[in-house]
C-alpha cells in the first residue's frame, strides 16, 4: 500500500493529471469501461445484491454513464478560471478564481450501490485533476473485485488505484495523509474517518444516511393518490430493496388515510412483485447475514411484530425479506429510532398532516424529505421550517439524478456535496488570484501614519471616490 500511495503522489507531482486532456481521456476511458463490461457489471451486481439488470442499469450503470457524459462535456468550462470583479479602488488589479486539484484523494464507497457510489465520486475527482485511491466496500465483494481488476485496464494506472480490503486495510489507509477523503457510509464510521482526517487537517466529505420521511397528504384525486403510492412502492422496494441512503424510511399520513393507503400499497406491491414477492426477480436481496439479522431483530420486538399489516416473511437461506408494512409501531422502538435500510416500511399516523413538520423536527436531520401534497402551505412549511439534505415534492429519489442539484446531507446525514459541478468543486481548491501592477502607487498605504492617510483610507473603504478626489485636492477637511 505504501508503494501504491507513493506512486499516486509522484504522479500528481508530475503535473500530468492537471491537463484537461488527461482528465477527458480518463472520463472517456471510464465510459468505455462501462460500455464494454456491462454484462460483467450486471453479473457482479446480481451476485452481491441480487439486483435485476434493469434496476442495475437504472440505479448504477446508467447513472454513472450520465454523470460521466455530463462531466465530459463540462470539464473544460469548470476548469477555466473565473473572473471576479474587483472594487474600482484596486484598479487596475484583476481578480479571478482558479480551481486547482487538491492532490491525492481517498474515496471510500459503500456496498449498497457498489458501482455508482464508487464511480460517481471518482468522476468528480478525475474531472478536478486529482490522483485517486478508491477503496470499494468489501461487503460487495464481486463488485469490489470487478473494480480492482477492471479499472487498471482502462484508466491511467499510475494515477488511479483501487485498494481492496476490510477494516484492517481501512485503518491502515486512514493513517496516511490525504488531500481529501470522500466517504459514503454510516455515521459511526463517518466519525472515525473524520477523526483520522483531523490528524492531518484533511478535509472530508461525508455522505451518510438517516431516516428519510415521506409525507403523504390526503390527496383528493384518487388518480393522484395512485401515482403517489406507485412512486412510493417503486422507490422503497425498487432501489436495492430499501437499502439506500435516500430510500423512504417511514411514511407520515393522516389517520383517516391509513386503511386506503394500506390497501393501495398491497395492490401495487402485487402488481410490481407478483403474488410471492420472495420469488420475484425484480427485488434485490439483503446484502449479507449481518444485515439480515439486524432487520430481523427490528421486527422481533413484540409490539413491533404486532404492528405488521403486510408481509413480514423472511427467507433466511436466500437473504430475502418480503416487502413489509407496519402500522404505527411504537416510536421508541429501534425501527423508529434507527435508520432501517431495508424493505420494512412503517406508517406513522397523525391527526393532521401539518403535524408532520413537528414530527420531523423532533428527530435528527434526514438526508432527504419527500412530500406528496398539493397544499402550498404545507410545502412552504416543509421548506422553511424543516431541514434536510434535500426536499422532493411529489416524487421520490429523483433528486439523485439531477446533475444541476447538489447531493449531500446536513447535520447527522453528512456534510459536503457532490454531483455535476458540485463534484468538481468538492475535489478542487478555488484559489483566489489577484494581479496588480506597479502603477499606480497609493502613498497613504504606507507608514509613517498620519491624519491625512487615515482620512484617505477611511474614504477608500467607503469607496467614496468623490471624497477621495476632494481630499487629494486639499478641498476636504
Amino acid at each position: 500500500m505504501e508503494a501504491t500511495l507513493a506512486e499516486v503522489k509522484e504522479t500528481f507531482k508530475s503535473g500530468k493529471t492537471r491537463s484537461v486532456t488527461w482528465r477527458k481521456k480518463q472520463l472517456r476511458a471510464l465510459i468505455e469501461l462501462i460500455r464494454e463490461n456491462e454484462d460483467k457489471l450486471f453479473k457482479a451486481l446480481h451476485e452481491d445484491l441480487g439486483k435485476h439488470p434493469t434496476e442495475a442499469y437504472r440505479d448504477e450503470i446508467g447513472v454513472v454513464l450520465k454523470s460521466t457524459d455530463y462531466a465530459l462535456s463540462n470539464v473544460e468550462k469548470w476548469a477555466a478560471p473565473k473572473k471576479s470583479p474587483v472594487p474600482l479602488f484596486f484598479f487596475p488589479a484583476k481578480g479571478e478564481l482558479l480551481p486547482e486539484p487538491l492532490g491525492v484523494i481517498l474515496i471510500f464507497s459503500c456496498w449498497n450501490f457498489p458501482i455508482s457510489l464508487a464511480l460517481d465520486p471518482l468522476i468528480g475527482a478525475i474531472s478536478a485533476g486529482n490522483t485517486v485511491v478508491l477503496k470499494p466496500s468489501d461487503q460487495a465483494p464481486a463488485c469490489s473485485s470487478f473494480l480492482a481488476n477492471t479499472i487498471p485496464l482502462y484508466l491511467d494506472s499510475k494515477a488511479i488505484k483501487v485498494i481492496e480490503g476490510g477494516t484492517e486495510i481501512c485503518e491502515r489507509i486512514l493513517q496516511h495523509k490525504w488531500e481529501k477523503i470522500f466517504f459514503t457510509g454510516s455515521q459511526q464510521i463517518g466519525r472515525i474517518v473524520m477523526s483520522a482526517a483531523a490528524k492531518h487537517l484533511t478535509p472530508v466529505t461525508l455522505e451518510l444516511g438517516g431516516k428519510c420521511p415521506t409525507i403523504l397528504d390526503s390527496l383528493s384525486s384518487p388518480s393522484d393518490l395512485k401515482v403517489a403510492v406507485k412512486r412510493i412502492v417503486g422507490s422503497k422496494w425498487g432501489p436495492c430493496s430499501g437499502q439506500a441512503c435516500i430510500a423512504i424510511d417511514y411514511l407520515l399520513v393522516e389517520e383517516k388515510l391509513a386503511p386506503t393507503l394500506i390497501e393501495l400499497l398491497k395492490k401495487i406491491i402485487k402488481t410490481f412483485y407478483g403474488e410471492i414477492p420472495k420469488e420475484s426477480k425484480s427485488i434485490a436481496r439483503i446484502v449479507n447475514r449481518n444485515h439480515f439479522e439486524r432487520l430481523k431483530n427490528l421486527l422481533k420486538d413484540p409490539p413491533v411484530a404486532a404492528s405488521i399489516v403486510h408481509g413480514g416473511s423472511l427467507d433466511e437461506d436466500n437473504l430475502i425479506i418480503e416487502p413489509t408494512i407496519l402500522l404505527d409501531p411504537p416510536l421508541d422502538a429501534a425501527i423508529m429510532t434507527e435508520e432501517i435500510f431495508g424493505p420494512l416500511l412503517p406508517i406513522i399516523t397523525l391527526r393532521n398532516i401539518q403535524e408532520s413538520v413537528e414530527f420531523i423536527n423532533s428527530r435528527p436531520k434526514p438526508l432527504a424529505i419527500y412530500a406528496f401534497t398539493k397544499n402550498e402551505t404545507l410545502k412552504r412549511r416543509i421548506l422553511s421550517e424543516t431541514s434536510s439534505g434535500s426536499v422532493t415534492f411529489n416524487d421520490v429519489m429523483i433528486q439523485y439524478l439531477c446533475d444541476t442539484l447538489p447531493f449531500g446531507g446536513v447535520d447527522q446525514s453528512g456534510f459536503g456535496r457532490y454531483h455535476g459541478k458540485y463534484s468538481f468543486d468538492t475535489f478542487s481548491h478555488e484559489k483566489a488570484i489577484m494581479q496588480g501592477s506597479f502603477f499606480p502607487e497609493i502613498e497613504p498605504r504606507y507608514p509613517p501614519w498620519d491624519e491625512f492617510k487615515m482620512k484617505f483610507i477611511r474614504l477608500a473603504y467607503r469607496l467614496d471616490y468623490f471624497g477621495l478626489v476632494l481630499l487629494l485636492l486639499g478641498l476636504k477637511r
Binding site: 439488470p53 434493469t54 434496476e55 437504472r58 446508467g62 457524459d69 471576479s84 474587483v86 484596486f90 481578480g95 482558479l98 488531500e179 466519525r191 473524520m194 482526517a197 483531523a198 487537517l201 478535509p203 384525486s221 406507485k230 412512486r231 417503486g234 425498487g238 410490481f272 412483485y273 426477480k281 425484480s282 422553511s384 431541514s387 439534505g389 434535500s390 426536499v391 411529489n394 429523483i398 439531477c402 446533475d403 444541476t404 442539484l405 447538489p406 446536513v410 447535520d411 456534510f415 478555488e430 484559489k431 483566489a432 488570484i433 489577484m434 494581479q435 496588480g436 501592477s437 506597479f438 502607487e441 498605504r445 507608514p447 509613517p448 501614519w449 487615515m454 483610507i457 477611511r458 473603504y461
Partner: protein, 493 residues
C-alpha cells in the same frame, strides 16, 4: 498557544464548565428553533447593530487594540474597523440577493419537474477567533453567520484580553442576546465549548489547535471552517519596480501587526544577484517608514506577549541564522518590541525556515534562477498566501497555475484580504473552507436541493416487474437521446 496564557485569564466567579456550555447551547438552540433568526428582518437588524457597534465603539476598539498589541490607530482602523464596516455594508446590500433560491435546470430524465437550491441556516454555530486581529477575526465570521440566519457563540482569544472583554460587553449591549453570545476564556472554557454539539465550527488560529477542533467536531459530525496560517512566500524577480515592490512587502509584513498576521509575507525568495539590491532598498524604505530607531516608532505593533517574544528570540538566536542578520535585530524584552529584521541567505534547515514566523523577522532565500523558487515553495506545506513580484507574463502564469496556496497575489501583498469578491481561506495545512462576502454567507448555510414534481408524467419503465424493453428505454432516457427514446418506445431497437 492557549496554554501559555491561561494565567492571564480574567478571574471570574462563575466557572464556565461543560454544564454551563451545554445550557448555553440549549438556550440558543431554542431561540433558533423558534425560527426568529431565519427572517430577513432579524438578520438585517443584527447586521445593522454590528455596524453600529463598530461605529460607536471605534474609540474603545482602538484603545483595546493598543492595550493588547500596541496596534497603531491607523492599522486598527484600516484592517479591523473599516474591514468590518465594509463586511456589514456588503452583507446588508447583498443579503436579499443571497437569500433568493437559485433556480436550476432539470434534465430530460426527470421531466417534467423544476428544481431549486435553497440556502438555509445551519443552526447554532461556534466561532473561535485569534488574538492578532482580535476584532476583525471575531466579528467577520459572526457577520457571515448572522447573515446566513444562525445563532452564534463567539469565543474571542484570551491572548488579547482587552479586546475579548470589550467584545463581550459590546455584543451584549448591541446584539440580540437570545441568539448571539460571547464566552470569554481560555483552554478550559474552549474545551467545554468544544464538547458541545454545534452545527458548524469556525476556528482561526494555528494547525495544532485546528486539529484538536476538528477532532472534537468529528465526534458530532460537525463541519468545520479552519482558517490557519503557514509560511507565505514572496518571490521577487529582478525585472521589477524595486521601490514599489519593496514598499508593498513592507506594507504586508511590518505594517500588518508587525508581521503577526496569517497572510503576512513569511520569507522572500530572490536571485543571488538581485538580493543585495533588494536588501538595500528594503533598508532604505524601512528607515523612511519607521525611522532610525524603529523600537521607538509608534507605527509598529509590539509582540503580543512574552511567550511569543521568547519564541521569536529563539528563532533569531538559532546559531544557523544569528550571523545572517543584515538589518535590525534589536529587541526590547521589557516592552516586547522587536525591530524589523532582515536575514540574508538563511539555511533552509534552520528553525526560522521550518515554522511560521508570525513576527517581524524576514528571511531572504537566494537562488540562481527565479524559477527555482517554485520547487522551494512546493516542497513545503501549502501556504495561506503566495506573492510574486515580476513583470514577466510567462512567470506570472506559471506561478499562478503551479503554486498551490489559499490565495495568490501578483505584484502586491495581503490586499486580496480586502476584496470581498474573492474567497478567503487556506488549503492543506493552511486550512479548509473559505469566507468573506458571499462566501461567508455560503460557509454558514446549508444548500438544500429542492425538486418539484407534479403527478403527471409517470413512466411505467421506472417500475417493476422489470423487462428487457424497460431496460432499453431506460438506456435511451438516461442517455438523453430523443431518437433512442422514440426507437425504444416503438420497439425498433
Amino acid at each position: 498557544m492557549a496554554v501559555e496564557v491561561e494565567k492571564e485569564v480574567k478571574k471570574s466567579n462563575e466557572v464556565f464548565d461543560s454544564k454551563a456550555a451545554s445550557s448555553l447551547v440549549n438556550e440558543l438552540r431554542q431561540s433558533f428553533a423558534s425560527g426568529k433568526t431565519r427572517s430577513y428582518e432579524w438578520r438585517v437588524s443584527q447586521l445593522k447593530s454590528v455596524a453600529k457597534l463598530v461605529n460607536d465603539g471605534e474609540r474603545d476598539i482602538v484603545d483595546a487594540l493598543r492595550s493588547d498589541l500596541s496596534k497603531p490607530e491607523l492599522e486598527s482602523v484600516v484592517y479591523e474597523i473599516s474591514m468590518l464596516k465594509n463586511s456589514c455594508k456588503v452583507a446588508l446590500k447583498e443579503l436579499k440577493r443571497w437569500m433568493v433560491p437559485e433556480k436550476v435546470k432539470t434534465s430530460l430524465t426527470t421531466f417534467p419537474s423544476s428544481a431549486e437550491i435553497l440556502s438555509e441556516p445551519l443552526g447554532v454555530v461556534l466561532v473561535i477567533s485569534a488574538w492578532n486581529y482580535p476584532f476583525l477575526l471575531s466579528l467577520d465570521p459572526v457577520i457571515g453567520a448572522i447573515a446566513a440566519g444562525n445563532a452564534v457563540v463567539l469565543k474571542p482569544s484570551e491572548v488579547a484580553p482587552a479586546t475579548s472583554s470589550l467584545l463581550a460587553k459590546l455584543v451584549k449591549e448591541y446584539l440580540d442576546s437570545s441568539c448571539v453570545r460571547v464566552v470569554e476564556g481560555a483552554v478550559s472554557e474552549t474545551t467545554a465549548l468544544l464538547e458541545q454539539k454545534w452545527d458548524k465550527i469556525c476556528y482561526t488560529g494555528n494547525g495544532r489547535v485546528g486539529r484538536i477542533v476538528m477532532q472534537a467536531a468529528a465526534k458530532h459530525l460537525t463541519p468545520v471552517l479552519l482558517e490557519l496560517g503557514g509560511k507565505s512566500p514572496v518571490v521577487v524577480d529582478s525585472d521589477v519596480n524595486l521601490k514599489v515592490a519593496t514598499r508593498r512587502i513592507i506594507a504586508g509584513k511590518w505594517a500588518c501587526n508587525n508581521g503577526q498576521a496569517c497572510i503576512s509575507p513569511d520569507y522572500v525568495i530572490t536571485t543571488k544577484e538581485f538580493a543585495p539590491k533588494l536588501v538595500d532598498v528594503l533598508k532604505e524604505e524601512l528607515e523612511k517608514f519607521y525611522g532610525k530607531n524603529p523600537l521607538e516608532s509608534k507605527d509598529l505593533s509590539r509582540i503580543v506577549n512574552s511567550n511569543h517574544f521568547a519564541r521569536l528570540s529563539k528563532l533569531l538566536d538559532d546559531e544557523k541564522v544569528s550571523g545572517k542578520i543584515v538589518h535590525g535585530g534589536e529587541r526590547n524584552e521589557t516592552d516586547l518590541l522587536i525591530a524589523p529584521t532582515l536575514l540574508l541567505d538563511v539555511p533552509r534547515d534552520s528553525l526560522i525556515m521550518n515554522e511560521e514566523i508570525f513576527g517581524p523577522l524576514l528571511p531572504i532565500i537566494t537562488v540562481d534562477k527565479v524559477e527555482e523558487s517554485f520547487d522551494i515553495i512546493s516542497s513545503g506545506s501549502k501556504p495561506l498566501a503566495a506573492y510574486l513580484f515580476t513583470s514577466n507574463e510567462k512567470l506570472k502564469k506559471q506561478f499562478v497555475t503551479t503554486i498551490s496556496a489559499g490565495g495568490v497575489v501578483i505584484n502586491d501583498t495581503t490586499i486580496h484580504l480586502a476584496v470581498h469578491t474573492l474567497p478567503f481561506g487556506g488549503v492543506g495545512e493552511s486550512g479548509m473552507g473559505s469566507y468573506h462576502g458571499k462566501f461567508s454567507f455560503d460557509a454558514f448555510s446549508h444548500k438544500k436541493a429542492v425538486v418539484y414534481r407534479s403527478f403527471v408524467g409517470d413512466a411505467a419503465i421506472r417500475y417493476p416487474p422489470y423487462t428487457k424493453g424497460k431496460l432499453r428505454l431506460l438506456k435511451a432516457l438516461i442517455g438523453g437521446s430523443i431518437l433512442g427514446i422514440i426507437r425504444a418506445l416503438f420497439g425498433w431497437s
